[in-house]
């Protein structure tokens, strides 16, 4: 059984930080397509539209009949037919993480695949042991199959191999950017419950009281810190203090106001929204990403992830909240750029997409609305599973599903 991770000791200042490497990059568009789906927590394989053959690894055409391949969700069961432990490698990432268990699995969906093997899958289990496969993203954003025990085992998230595929908050130090609002507060509490060592919780106006202040300040493990992501100097000053200690950054800051484009919208609201949602994201990235990148594989509390919580309407626009949706759209675009940059460093960039949050700025919006605790759970799940993109709440799930099926139709639906 997996030994629980010990709380990491303070770093020996005489030791050079361990430089992080990423596994080899994908080589095909099909592999990237698989990665996109893996990032949403789906277990998918390609199926031929002509001969119904299910195939793996990702390919451009059916290996049996050259037919067109489409992605289909698949059962995640498999039988392990062989396994071994790699003890030497020329690859820089795997050299850092040896020994490494791999195996061959016969998928219930059909293909036979090389898989990474969890430590709790019993030794010598190759003689037909049942496993549950997880389609993961590795530190470089590449899709990979990971064989887990068929049933949960104690501390299985602490498996050292599995942990490289996730950004589990356990024992990590997290910066949550906006502690003055209910979402940031719920996220901070959720991360502490998930085992985070410390949550640094940003406060954009330390001289001004805010709702929930007493309970947040009384919560063990949460430290409030001055942080106004609308102010470059404030972000830089905090990064100067905490940059080397932030393992996960969760950006919950946002600016929501009602208004249209030609009718009822305010230019100053749009400017404020862009400054917080978009420029603020860049301020955070420029201040924290370099230090995080330098610590991406430095032990139990290595830097691991940059998570951004944004409105799902950034994908589509939103009637009555045009400026908010526009700044969310720019935010998502900027995040895509950051994701690409960070992929080289081993830091995962993740996105949690929300529908209307049940807060003071969505008073006129009909339910269902997202409770701050739901956002917190989504953030923790995203980190623990190493996902890229998580919709939270019924609205966001519905909008995302429709957008993936027909983007232009969904844009029209959400803006009229």
């Amino acid at each position: 059984m997996t030994e629980p991770l010990d709380k990491p000791k303070r770093k020996d200042p005489l030791k050079r930080s361990h430089v992080g490497h990423v596994p080899p990059a994908p080589r095909s568009r099909a592999a990237k397509a698989m990665a996109v789906r893996a990032g949403q927590g789906r277990f998918v394989l390609q199926v031929c539209k002509d001969c119904a053959e299910t195939t793996y690894p990702p390919r451009d055409r059916c290996p049996k009949c050259w037919g067109e391949l489409v992605w289909r969700d698949q059962p995640d069961g498999a039988t392990l037919v062989a396994e071994t432990t790699v003890r030497t490698s020329m690859d820089l990432f795997f050299r850092d993480h040896l020994p490494w268990r791999i195996g061959t699995a016969k998928l219930d969906a059909g293909p036979v695949a090389i898989v990474h093997v969890h430590g709790d899958v019993a030794d010598g289990a190759a003689g037909g042991a049942r496993v549950r496969l997880k389609l993961c993203l590795d530190r470089g954003g590449n899709p990979a199959l990971f064989a887990l025990p068929e049933t949960e085992t104690p501390n299985m998230q602490d498996d050292p191999q599995l942990r490289t595929f996730t950004a589990n908050p356990k024992h990590r130090r997290v910066l949550v950017t906006d502690g003055r609002g209910p979402v940031g507060q719920a996220v901070a509490e959720g991360l502490i419950e998930a085992g985070a060592a410390t949550v640094f919780l940003g406060n954009a106006d330390p001289l001004m009281r805010y709702p929930g202040q007493a309970s947040i300040e009384a919560c063990e493990g949460i430290e409030t810190v001055p942080l106004d992501i609308g102010d470059t100097r404030s972000v830089a000053e905090l990064a100067g203090q905490l940059g080397g200690r932030v393992d996960i950054l969760v950006n919950t800051a946002g600016f929501t106001r009602e208004g249209g484009v030609g009718f009822g919208g305010k230019i100053t609201d749009l400017q404020a929204g862009l400054d917080i949602d978009v420029t603020g994201l860049m301020r955070l990235a420029q201040a924290f990403a370099p230090a995080m990148s330098g610590r991406s594989d430095d032990g139990v509390n290595a830097a691991a992830a940059f998570v951004d919580v944004a409105s799902v309407y950034g994908l589509t626009g939103r009637s009555g909240f045009a400026g908010m949706a526009a700044s969310a759209a720019a935010r998502l675009t900027l995040l895509a750029g950051l994701k690409s940059e960070m992929r080289q460093t081993g830091i995962r960039v993740m996105s949690v997409l929300t529908g209307p949050v049940d807060d003071e700025w969505h008073q006129s919006v009909l339910p269902p609305k997202v409770a701050p605790r739901q956002v917190a759970r989504a953030v923790v799940d995203t980190l623990a599973n190493g996902h890229d993109l998580t919709p939270v709440g019924d609205i966001a799930k519905d909008v995302l599903a429709r957008w993936q099926a027909d983007p232009l139709l969904t844009i029209r639906e959400e803006t009229e």
């Binding site: 001289l207 470059t232 404020a272």
Partner: protein, 267 residues
């Protein structure tokens, strides 16, 4: 070419400046992202704080020069309120900062010290009765003066007590309508100069009429100066305030550098 001393008022002034018998007092708080701005209910448009983004600092964006892009509200930091700032002054002539007569940027000040009252009661209200009592003790308020309301409130900058925002609103001293009517109509003041974040009291939205300082000052073409500091360095009479707002086209106000000129031993 030098002027013989004593030949004109301005020459005397120049000689006093050059000779060091006059001194400048900086009445301005430093513009920084940390300086508080007035807080309104969130559904209203907010007062943007000061922001500064570096354009270059002897680097690839400008190898030999350092400069920043700045942004803020017209009423951020130490600032000037023009009559157009308030609805009562919206139809007056020359009511925006670009049109205010420049002669009004230079005016003497009378300093009314309510430090003790403000310390005892953050909601201290300046009334006509108080002003008349003050005049009996100190002398008449001359016409065309800034009324500088010394509270030492600037010493609270950097603490929650500066805005003093409680669940029932802000709490800071200011005048009532009777005091403002007296100062504007009977003492012909240039404007009201304060150390608090606004010329009105923190609770002035509950006054009748609400916001009497803004309403009466600007409705009668007078001005406001807010977020000042160092009024404790000025004499009761005899200071000259220099307050030149930026010439913003159609602007309702402007951050500015405010200085006072006093005689060396005046304070």
């Amino acid at each position: 070419m030098s002027q013989p001393a004593g030949r004109s008022v301005l020459a005397d002034f120049a000689a006093a400046l050059a000779g060091g018998s006059l001194k400048c007092v900086d009445l301005t708080n430093t513009l920084s992202p940390d300086f508080p701005v007035i807080v309104l209910p969130p559904e209203f448009g907010a007062c943007a704080p000061f922001r500064m983004e570096e354009v270059s600092r002897y680097d690839a964006n400008g190898p030999a020069w350092y400069w920043n892009a700045i942004s803020m509200n017209e009423h951020t930091g130490t600032h000037f309120d023009a009559p157009a700032h308030w609805v009562t002054g919206r139809d007056l002539p020359s009511n925006t900062v670009d049109a205010v007569p420049p002669a009004d940027f230079l005016a003497p000040a009378v300093v009314i010290n309510i430090t003790r009252e403000a310390a005892a009661d953050a909601d201290f209200v300046l009334t006509r009765d108080f002003l008349e009592g003050w005049e009996q003790a100190n002398g008449l308020i001359p016409p065309r003066h800034w009324i500088a309301l010394r509270t030492d409130w600037y010493k609270k900058v950097g603490t929650p007590d500066y805005l003093n925002m409680q669940e029932d609103g802000a709490h800071s001293p200011g005048p009532d309508a009777g005091a403002m009517d007296f100062l504007v109509h009977e003492r012909d003041c240039v404007g009201l100069a304060v150390e608090t974040v606004g010329t009105d009291a923190g609770q002035a939205s509950h006054f009748n009429p609400p916001f009497p300082a803004h309403s009466i000052l600007h409705g009668n073409g007078r001005y406001g100066l807010q977020c000042l500091r160092n009024l404790d360095q000025l004499p009761t009479f005899g200071a000259i305030i220099v307050a030149c707002p930026l010439k913003i086209e159609g602007g309702s106000g402007s951050p500015l550098r405010v200085i006072a000129i006093i005689e060396e031993d005046a304070a």
